[in-house]
């Protein structure tokens, strides 16, 4: 097995393991330490890490989990993610978590925090209300306060009260995590044939359940393996996939898009791992640095208020241009308010710029991919025939 294949298989094993064995193993070999889960999209992992806890991404059960208990909690018109998260919890698979964070992604995840409080009164539950206002000073003060409270609460659970230097170390570590993720994304953008999105995605998923230090090592090893084992380019179209930042698409859907003749050159899968686009400063009050990096962030996403009146119209043009893409696939989970409410604005801006677009909806447990493959294949062919939007 090649080095690349070895890393990908390691990542695939972690992705497929719905029992979070790696997290349990980490807890076994680190007696007294704790794990803290977080839901999509953005949670300040640096704070969890600084408190001495293992950050664990909870991204549902995908298409690998039969929902028995979860459906009893949700009506049919609510997205699939919370029911599979409940299923994971009710089946005991998340019993190793001492704390769970619920970011302000949408009302479904927000209300899930309340369900968690009721179902698991012994687990620390916090709703992460990120600042939405354009006033950087008021927003920073608010967010610093939230981070400080979170750190205090998690430290009380873990028993580890970090010094400022320890917090800075955690921040530096996650600067490195984001740095290597940026490298991976940049390389895929340049040579998508060398970094298939299926592989990149599996690596990102692995990064959600292992310590950041280990992720950096594996990701760098993967980058090395890519250079050592280059692949041949194909005559594929280059697409941006957007709308999949919360409930994750099944791996089969990602593979279908690629196999239909599309190179994914930008996406918003697992967006939380690169939500902060800059390097967080290591001087001064570390929590304030972290807060300010969140506020002076170039990331534009459906879960944050867009202060710039032209921002929504410009966003997809910019992403397409930056990625050198030919077109956009709007792939949103069914009943996803953030993605689907944003879509008319994003798509209108893209189409005004002459960028080809298609849209479809999925659920994390979608099992039939033929229709997606046909749509993506037709889209890719049409781009080859009629041209894409790179020049826009």
């Amino acid at each position: 097995m090649s080095k690349r294949a070895e890393i990908v298989e390691w990542a695939r094993d972690l992705y497929e393991d719905l029992d979070f064995t790696s997290v349990r193993r980490w807890l076994d070999v680190h007696p007294g330490r704790k794990a803290c889960g977080y839901l999509p999209v953005y949670a300040p992992r640096e704070v969890i890490h600084a408190a001495g806890m293992l950050p664990v991404g909870i991204h549902g059960g995908g298409d690998r989990l039969e929902i028995i208990r979860g459906d009893a909690f949700y009506q049919s018109y609510i997205c699939h993610l919370p029911r599979s998260v409940i299923e994971l919890a009710q089946s005991g698979r998340l019993s190793m978590l001492s704390a769970v964070l619920f970011p302000s992604t949408c009302d479904v995840i927000r209300n899930l925090s309340g369900i968690w409080k009721l179902l698991y009164p012994d687990v620390y539950v916090r709703y992460i209300d990120v600042p939405q206002v354009p006033d950087p000073e008021a927003a920073a003060d608010f967010w610093v306060g939230e981070l400080r409270r979170l750190l205090g609460d998690l430290s009380a659970i873990s028993g580890h009260h970090p010094s400022d230097d320890e917090i800075r170390s955690s921040i530096a570590l996650y600067n490195d995590v984001r740095g290597v993720i940026r490298q991976l994304y940049a390389l895929r953008q340049q040579r998508p044939w060398d970094v298939p999105t299926e592989e990149l995605y599996l690596l990102m998923r692995a990064g959600e359940v292992i310590p950041p230090e280990e992720f950096i090592v594996r990701a760098r090893a993967y980058l090395g393996a890519v250079e050592a084992e280059p692949k041949r380019p194909r005559d594929n179209s280059r697409v941006v996939v957007t709308g999949a930042f919360c409930e994750q698409p099944p791996l089969g859907l990602i593979k279908s898009i690629e196999r239909a003749g599309c190179y994914v050159v930008d996406d918003d899968f697992l967006l939380g791992n690169r939500f902060v686009t800059g390097v967080v400063g290591l001087e001064g009050d570390p929590l304030r640095s972290l807060a300010e990096s969140f506020l002076h962030n170039e990331q534009r996403t459906s879960v944050m208020y867009e202060g710039d009146a032209s921002g929504k119209r410009q966003l997809m043009r910019r992403r397409v241009k930056d990625a050198g893409a030919d077109g956009i696939i709007f792939a949103a989970p069914s009943f996803c308010d953030p993605a689907l409410l944003d879509q008319p604005m994003l798509r209108a801006g893209a189409e005004q710029a002459g960028i080809p677009c298609i849209a479809f909806k999925y659920a994390e447990n979608s099992g039939q991919f033929q229709q997606f493959r046909e749509q993506a294949g037709t889209f890719s062919d049409s781009i080859k025939l009629w041209g894409g939007g790179t020049a826009a």
């Binding site: 009506q75 018109y77 309340g114 009721l118 354009p134 929504k312």
Partner: protein, 424 residues
């Protein structure tokens, strides 16, 4: 006599609404600024203190639903790319705008001079005003109200809101209206608001009596209308609530029930608490299903989306900005699930209800996500079985009359059977 008195408050409300929409239509020529905002956490006293007229898009959407116009508006929005999966209020509003923006009173709704996005317990609000900003190409200001995830308003969250009011919201209103902030004018508005709120609470709490002189859901959505929309902090608002209170007190003294689509409901067989918004497209039909069975709603949570006054909150003119922060934070949708459950349990006990029902609407995840958990917890804590029906706010495709009627009939039979069995 009571019917005539009830007519008086209804007539008053009708006149107030017609007058407001007529004034809105003339606002561009009269150079009156217009500010759009949402019901939960609306800062209508502040808006009015700047001489601006408020527009509440949810109110327009629900009125479109009641007038059977929302179906076409939703279809229009879906034609231009809005998903069938998302909030029907938003689509009704966008569809109305694209169909000429003729509002519920048959008058033209003017474009906003400012979108005041009070982000209070509903994620969709953020997208709604981003979408309207695209349509109207107008300024917007964001007022972030932290969610009460732990069930309390933290002092630093209150300070954060105050800061936003001072540094963002007021300057935006000053710019949009061309007027300076006038705290005295705001205090006067808040004094009027508190007076109307006192009257409303007396009306709401009258349902503790038997028979209840009001319906705490179907009837009360009319009662809360002026206070939750454009008329809080106005003399007309106070006059309306004074009149309404007199009517209700007269019914109470005479031992009469509320007027329903089936006439006066004096013989009240079931006392219910309801969670969730009503279905506006089938409002009367839905109400009739209750009235036919002799069921009166004694309290509801939906009638608290614009303020939880019955738990003691009043706008306080002595702390004009602080009271606005407190108000926004305490609106029902900004409360976490455990707090919502506490409220329902309290209603069931204090209003001596013998049943509770959840109307789960497809459009609103702020309400709907978690309602099955609410159902379970309330049942567990009160020992009273609940009923669960599904519909939508203003999308007529999601109201199944036969299905809902069957469920309600079965539910009432079950309550009756429990009584006969000596369980009640």
């Amino acid at each position: 006599m009571s019917t005539a008195l009830k007519d008086r408050s209804m007539l008053l409300q009708k006149e107030m609404i017609a007058s407001h929409f007529a004034r809105l239509e003339r606002a561009p020529e009269n150079k009156e600024p217009v500010v759009y905002t949402f019901v939960p956490g609306n800062l209508v006293e502040l808006i009015r203190s700047f001489g601006a007229l408020p527009v509440l898009p949810e109110i327009n959407a629900l009125q479109s639903g009641m007038r059977k116009q929302s179906g076409d508006y939703i279809a229009e929005a879906e034609r231009v790319g809005h998903s069938e999966d998302v909030c029907a209020y938003v689509k009704s509003d966008i569809g109305m705008l694209r169909s000429g923006n003729i509002g519920p009173a048959g008058t033209k709704i003017p474009k906003p001079d400012l979108l005041l996005l009070s982000y209070t317990g509903c994620y969709t609000f953020m997208k709604w005003f981003e979408l309207l900003r695209e349509e109207y190409d107008c300024p917007a200001v964001f007022f972030h109200v932290p969610y009460q995830g732990d069930g309390v308003l933290e002092p630093e969250h209150r300070e954060y809101m105050l800061r936003q009011l001072r540094e963002q919201v007021i300057p935006a209103l000053e710019k949009a209206t061309g007027r300076a902030y006038d705290e005295e004018a705001l205090r006067e508005r808040l004094t009027l608001a508190a007076e109307a709120e006192d009257h409303l609470v007396a009306v709401l709490q009258s349902a503790k009596h038997r028979p209840s002189p009001i319906d705490g859901y179907f009837g009360t959505v009319y009662y809360v209308g002026p206070l939750f929309s454009a008329f809080r902090g106005t003399p007309e608002g106070v006059e309306y609530y004074r009149t309404l209170r007199e009517e209700v007190e007269e019914r109470l003294a005479a031992g009469l029930g509320p007027v329903t689509p089936e006439g006066q409901l004096n013989d009240q067989k079931y006392r219910l608490v309801v969670e969730g918004p009503p279905s506006w497209t089938h409002f009367r039909e839905f109400w009739k299903m209750f009235a036919d069975e002799g069921a009166v709603v004694v309290a509801s949570t939906y009638t608290k989306v614009g303020g939880t006054y019955d738990f003691g909150f009043r706008h306080n003119p002595n702390d004009p900005l602080g009271t606005l922060a407190d108000y926004c934070s305490g609106c029902y949708t900004n409360l976490n699930l455990p707090s919502r459950i506490d409220m329902l349990v309290r209603y069931i006990r204090e209003y001596e209800a013998d049943g509770f029902l959840i109307n789960s609407v497809k459009s609103c995840n702020s309400f709907s996500a978690g309602q099955l958990m609410i159902l379970r917890e309330v049942e567990k804590r009160t020992g009273i079985p609940g009923a669960f029906v599904e519909s939508d706010l203003v999308d007529p495709r999601y109201f199944s009359s036969a299905n809902i009627k069957n469920r309600l009939e079965s539910y009432f039979q079950m309550i009756q059977a429990r009584r006969v069995g000596g369980l009640a």
